[in-house]
């Protein structure tokens, strides 16, 4: 299993870019929320493929279970 990491870049004027790496599903949003509370105002948030892929897997599994029942 890939290690979960948070990568934070603090730019020369204090602007922060943070990326979650290997964090599955909505938990990565909790980390983004935490950083927003620590640093200040959120300018943008992007959910990358991994977030949606993970969510899709959960959804697919649920649909399979429902079909079996």
């Amino acid at each position: 299993m890939a290690k979960e990491e948070l990568e934070i870049e603090i730019g020369p004027s204090g602007k922060v870019t943070a990326r979650t790496i290997g964090v599955k599903g909505p938990r990565c949003l909790e980390l983004a929320d935490l950083l927003a509370r620590i640093v200040g105002r959120e300018e943008s948030r992007t959910l990358t493929n991994e977030y949606y892929e993970t969510e899709q897997h959960v959804q697919d599994a649920t649909q399979v279970r429902q079909r079996r029942n």
Binding site: A18, I21, R41, L47, T48
Partner: protein, 151 residues
Amino acid sequence: MSTVVILAPIVIANWPVIAAAVGAAVGTLGFAMTRTAGSTAEHAATTREELEVENSEILPAMAGEEERIVVEREGVRAIFTRDARGALRVCMEGTGQSRSELRRLGQELIDRVTQQYVYHRVVTELKARNMTIVDEEVAEDRTVKIRVRGW
């Protein structure tokens, strides 16, 4: 990767925290703290420029705490104060510099103080949540890169 978030800093702190950030940041630009603010009279500034730190809120000082930091570098003085509205303000004074030069230098000082404040706050808050910094480096453009695990 799953999320990328971009955050603009808001400086909310009491005076001692700001003083620590100023102290740590200004040295990187060759400025040194003056011992007392009383030496102002000796400094014959010919040009003056004032800048406010956007998105800053400095909490009122405790009784007896001076809300003023003075730093100097060859012919230039920067005075950090808390203004009446509670914002952090920097007054740049110089001899022989244009107002635009003083403004540029003042903005550079503000950027470094803000970065120092954000770095300290991020590291302190993450450690308080038992998160571990596994790697840290400073890039050529002064961007600080931190990798965190364990939550």
